[in-house]
């Protein structure tokens, strides 16, 4: 077990910079999720930690030792790939046992360790099958077993759930969380799925354009997004973002949309953000402002109400029993303690006093 630190890490191919001057301290035993849209540099960052890509500049330290010049095999890491990366001609048992075989662990001892790892992910009955005879979920569990069998100092997981169907994703996610908790191994996990990031991580690094936009616990990232990108990326349905003007603690937008923000210092163009669950719909006249209903969608556990408030369209999350006709007028109440204000030019968050 070890901490991992990235110091001013940069990776560029020709004119394209995938990762830009990135520094990140991952603590011993921490579950760190790198979250971002495709092309944000999260996989490249992980591949540099693994030693599959060479950094253009900067240092990578594992357990305090600089590993830039070490090949993957000397870094004592294990990696789970998006499309599993299993050895197709080997049985499940040989797949899991391969890292042990390379370390010269033989016979009964190897078999015992393989069996123990397989038991952790409930693969014991399938040890003699080949990867092509397994379902996607089973294959991913083989990849997990192969990663845990030799007790590495760091786990790297590159979108391990993205090839699984929705139902399996939820159960495998829980398995990964449980395994990491049980083994306590430092884990770096790459995903574009914000739910995975929120549910799994001790801390999340939200990345865009090769840079970390915010690094914090899932709670803070959700409650206090550092900028417009993070605000829009985290949350489903996404945060409502309204363009407008801000002066003297009051936000106004075209068409009569307004709100009180509690940020006194700032004046000028701004973006107001409010999460759908922090918007309440009620009878006309009873809230902060009235608006007409644009659409009503029942998702099962809630009703998503889209309203036209001036030029802006706002989504509110209402109780699943809530009903209204499209076109009718309702009142919106915004939870003043959970409003987010961003400067339009810098896109940075403006904190209320």
């Amino acid at each position: 077990m070890a901490d991992v630190s990235l110091r001013n890490l940069t990776k560029a191919w020709g004119g394209f910079t995938a990762v830009r001057d990135q520094s990140l301290e991952i603590r011993d035993g921490e579950f760190m999720v790198l979250l971002g849209p495709s092309g944000c540099g999260k996989t490249t960052t992980m591949r540099m930690i693994a030693g599959l890509e060479e950094p253009t500049a900067g240092d990578i330290l594992i357990g305090g030792q600089r590993v830039n010049d070490l090949p993957p095999r000397d870094r004592d890491i294990a990696m789970v790939f998006q499309s599993y990366g299993l050895y197709p001609h080997m049985t499940v048992e040989d797949n899991i046992g391969y890292p042990l075989k390379l370390r010269g662990i033989k016979g009964a001892e190897r078999a015992a360790q393989v069996r123990a790892a397989a038991a952790k992910v409930e693969l014991e009955p399938l040890l003699h099958r080949r990867p092509k005879e397994l379902s996607g979920g089973q294959r991913q569990r083989v990849a997990l077993a192969r990663a845990i069998v030799r007790r590495p100092t760091v786990f790297l997981m590159d979108e391990p759930l993205s090839n699984l169907d929705a139902k399996l994703r939820v159960s495998t996610r829980a398995e990964i969380k449980h395994l990491q908790h049980e083994l306590g191994v430092t884990t770096v996990y790459v995903t574009h799925d914000q739910i995975e990031a929120m549910t799994l991580a001790h801390r999340v690094a939200v990345m865009q354009g090769g840079e970390i936009r915010q690094l914090d616990t899932p709670e803070v990232i959700y409650d206090r997004p550092a900028d417009l990108f993070v605000a829009g990326f985290i949350g489903s349905p996404p945060m409502n973002l309204v363009d407008g003007d801000h002066a003297d603690g009051r936000f106004t937008a075209a068409g009569g949309f307004h709100a009180t923000t509690g940020v006194a210092r700032h004046g000028g163009r701004a973006v107001l953000g409010v999460r759908p669950e922090d918007v309440t719909v009620g009878p006309a006249g009873s809230g902060d402002l009235d608006a007409s209903i644009y659409a009503v969608e029942l998702t099962g556990d809630a009703v998503l109400v889209t309203v036209q408030a001036g030029a802006a369209r706002i989504i509110a999350k209402a109780d699943r029993a809530w009903r209204a006709e499209i076109g009718s007028t309702v009142a919106l109440r915004l939870d003043a303690s959970r409003l987010h204000l961003f400067d339009a030019a810098s896109t940075k968050r403006l904190q209320p006093e």
């Binding site: 095999r73 294990a78 990366g85 050895y87 197709p88 391969y98």
Partner: protein
């Protein structure tokens, strides 16, 4: 009904062409192989004599036995050399890069040279007095100075293999490269992370995954090596002695130097039988469903 007839009309020219140039000659040669027909005696085919030619070839013809043995040696060395060299070159050329792609493009050139021409070129290059290879070999290994390569039975066969490998290796390299580029990268990367050395990655992951492609290359090359003819004519003429007489060259000699059309047809059909067997095996291999490998 109109459409149904039209499709046969459209296929007719191609069908006639194949019938006239392939099926008909094959049928005639099969019939001829059961007849006694020496052009030195008669311009028309002689009487049917049953499988006598086949029996002679397989039991009582030192020329046939020799050609079979020469062909077998040639095929074994040629196929092994081609597969190993193609695999090695493909692994070297696998990486991306301007020089790599340029080399890949230039690589196809030897295959564009006619095999007869390859034979003639190699005869000059292995000429004892002015051949560039003779000179090169002499420069590296002094006692090979002025060595008459094509006068030694074993060396002549090796030169024949060398000339054929020179022509085929680049093409087969491209086939292997195609196979390599179709392999998923992740198993190799997983192996590297699992502590495999580059050699272990190759032996345990890349090579097993590449086996179906290598099998195709080996069978294809076997088929073409079995038919070895052009370079024998232009490079060694079957010599020295009979040391480089392949089966195809033997058929040619029997038919057009000794004018024994019946016997030549029989030997040709023995060769054809081997080729058909390999072709069927090859088709089975490449038509196998993906993922079954």
């Amino acid at each position: 009904m109109q459409d149904r007839r039209l499709k046969y009309v459209l296929i007719l020219p191609a069908a006639l062409l194949v019938l006239g140039t392939t099926i008909w000659p094959l049928a005639v040669s099969l019939v001829t192989s059961f007849r006694d027909w020496r052009l030195t005696r008669s311009l028309t085919p002689g009487p049917f004599i049953g499988p006598e030619h086949y029996v002679t070839a397989l039991t009582d013809d030192p020329d046939f036995a020799n050609a079979l043995q020469v062909t077998a040696s040639f095929v074994a060395i040629d196929v092994a050399l081609t597969v190993v060299c193609a695999l090695g070159l493909a692994l070297l050329l696998r990486r991306a890069g301007v020089l790599h792609s340029l080399t890949r493009a230039v690589l196809i050139l030897p295959f564009a040279v006619s095999p007869a021409l390859v034979g003639i070129s190699f005869r000059f290059m292995f000429n004892a007095e002015m051949g560039v290879f003779t000179w090169l070999a002499g420069a590296v290994v002094p006692w090979l100075q002025g060595y008459v390569w094509l006068a030694d039975p074993v060396a002549a066969l090796l030169v024949l293999v060398f000339s054929d490998a020179w022509r085929w290796v680049p093409y087969m390299t491209l086939v292997v490269l195609g196979g390599l580029s179709a392999l998923p990268k992740e198993p190799e990367e997983a192996a590297r992370i699992d502590c495999a050395s580059e050699w272990q990655v190759f032996r345990d992951v890349t090579l097993p995954a590449l086996m179906p492609v290598l099998a195709v290359v080996a069978i294809l090359k076997t088929v073409f090596a079995l038919k070895m003819f052009d370079q024998v004519v232009t490079l060694t003429g079957g010599g020295p002695g009979q040391s480089t007489v392949t089966l195809a060259y033997l058929v040619y000699s029997i038919a057009f130097r000794w004018y024994d059309m019946g016997y030549a047809s029989a030997v040709a059909w023995i060769l054809t039988a081997m080729l058909v067997f390999l072709a069927v095996w090859y088709m089975k291999l490449i038509l196998r469903k993906p993922g079954g490998a």
